[in-house]
């Protein structure tokens, strides 16, 4: 398994090298410093967050750390994204993303009597650690637009299958908790990201979750979003999350919810040189 993954990474990097001379022309709509749904990472020193979005921190060596700060107290989580592309201006770019979540505290908080009891009070979760790994391959076919293919798998690292887990049989929730009672789940996504005009951007994932059961369970999710970049420091996002799938006992063929966020950023201040 490790060997196969290594081959895939080497192959992708080879493709990257082959097209090393094929660079992205200068953006026509100005430099978009905001996070893009692609293999690109935030510039070092830049931090972004939102009401609902994770906090993303641009690190050195083409890396980006993201954490959901509010969730962290009840569901410790983190993700590290590394852009492996030799030249940041390459049309083809490759990144990998590695993260973990520890949902046990949150699951047990939600297992209660009364309103807000998502899970039965008599079912307590064991220690669960999920590891999520993803490969992101992006192609910048236009200075302002990109398309990305993402391949990911989530593993239940402690192998503590939550055998008594009573899942939430709703399209939006089911695939995100499926790994709690299984060894692994898979994900394939196609992402589109770019800028319409100077201040208006977009991105959208078409994501396919694959959950191994007696028969394969799948959930297809489309998440289109539009951004209005008020400035380099503030932007507004609006969109939708539309899902369909064949999860057990889900009554609706399709579920859709609106999504909204207010996002802000700040840069690490540069130290002034002493004269």
């Amino acid at each position: 398994m490790k060997t196969k993954i290594s081959y895939i990474i080497v192959l992708m990097m080879s493709v990257n090298v082959i097209f090393a001379q094929d660079t992205i022309p200068e953006k026509t709509e100005g430099n978009n410093v905001w996070h893009e749904n692609s293999a690109k990472v935030l510039k070092q020193g830049r931090t972004e967050s939102g009401l609902f979005a994770p906090m993303r921190i641009g690190l050195k060596n083409q890396m980006e750390l993201s954490v959901h700060p509010i969730w962290f107290f009840v569901m410790p989580n983190a993700k590290l994204k590394k852009n492996w592309t030799l030249n940041d201006n390459n049309k083809f770019q490759v990144a990998s993303e590695h993260g973990f979540t520890f949902p046990t505290i949150l699951l047990n908080l939600l297992a209660k009597n009364g309103t807000g009891g998502i899970f039965p009070a008599d079912q307590k979760a064991p220690a669960i650690l999920t590891l999520n790994n993803k490969v992101i391959m992006s192609y910048f076919y236009h200075p302002d637009h990109s398309v990305s293919l993402k391949l990911g798998m989530e593993f239940n690292a402690l192998a503590s299958m939550y055998n008594g887990f009573a899942p939430v049989e709703l399209l939006i929730a089911y695939p995100r908790t499926a790994s709690y009672s299984r060894f692994y789940t898979g994900e394939i996504a196609l992402a589109f990201s770019g800028t319409f005009v100077k201040k208006v951007g977009y991105d959208g994932d078409i994501k396919l979750f694959l959950i191994p059961d007696d028969k394969l369970t799948w959930v297809l999710e489309w998440n289109p979003k539009v951004y209005y970049n008020v400035s380099d420091k503030f932007r507004i996002m609006a969109g939708a999350l539309v899902t369909t799938g064949n999860i057990p006992h889900e009554k609706a063929a399709v579920r859709a919810i609106p999504v909204f966020d207010l996002q802000y950023s700040f840069n690490k201040s540069k130290k002034k040189k002493k004269k």
Binding site: L51, A111, K112, N113, G114, T115, G116, G117, I118, F119, P120, A121, D122, Q123, A166, V168, E169, L170, H249, E250, K251, A252
Partner: protein, 364 residues
Amino acid sequence: MMKLKFSISIFALLFLAACDPFHTKIEDQEFTVIQYEARNKTTPTATPSTLKIATWNIKFGGGRIDFFFDCHGDRVLMTKTEVLENMTGVAAKVRNMNPDVIFLQEVDIDSKRSAYVDQVQYLLDNTDLNYAVYASQWQADYVPSDGVGQVNSGNAILSKYPLNNAERIALPLIAEQSGLVQYFYLRRNILLADLTINNKTVKVLNTHTSAYSSDGTKKEQLEIIQKRVADLDAANIPFILGGDFNNLPPNSTTYCNFDDDVCTEESGYASLPCDVLLEELSNMQIYASYEAAIPQAKYESNQSIYGTFTSDKDGFWNRKLDYIFTNGDFVDGAGMVHQGVSSGGMATMPLSDHCPITTIFKWN
């Protein structure tokens, strides 16, 4: 930040009010009644002179598992094995009673708590009953409370003979509940249908009124039920009404502080205060107008042998909440409360927190 969170909460409530994202609202139209047939039908008596009528709240096949709402335990969900084991017992008792028509309350057809077993179909396929109609009174894609999850539970009428023109009539919601609780809570109803045998039609009605309202909603529901049957009676339409009325008969000597009342106020399932329960005794005006399976005089002569409910599996049936009424005729003395082996021929305590009642209706 607080203003923003408040705004988001208001938006969420408005969203729920404007839409029905979890499909909890039940349209009060004919097509919301589900029709069932047994996979293998039996042949009932072609020209019956009497019909055996029963009513039973089967506690969604939960048997005597200690669920959180009784405050004797904290169970929420059952496994399929548990449900089928309990339903085997329920079916056995139904076969033991051998009714021509049975009114069932708290029947699950597609609920997470009962492993999604369709209990109406199960009973049709494991008894001599051939037809059924079902009307939901608790339906939601997901109830975000107590870990209940998806639920579809309601009233059913099962019969050896075909049932036609089935209809669901909504009863008032509990007014004192908040909008959010009301959205996800039970929606009580009257389920009615025509039972036609050899050109004679009788209206059969099944109901299950509120258990926990202290704002007069139960009284309002009972008044609507009573008005409905009064209209049928005024139109010379024979009816049989059965169900769990969650109300004691008039002149009940014990009406509060029962031994099995262990729920606290905090649980949300505490019994109502004694003065409220005393006042509720006058809700059952229906006794004065129609014949009951257990006549009022008989009940008053020895109330303890007519109890149909207890939440304590180690106790005894201590209050009468279940009834059958008609504007026709029951065979005198035929009414029976199946409290156990000595009255009914089979133990019923393990099968539900209610025991069934039967009587015999004169068809000709």
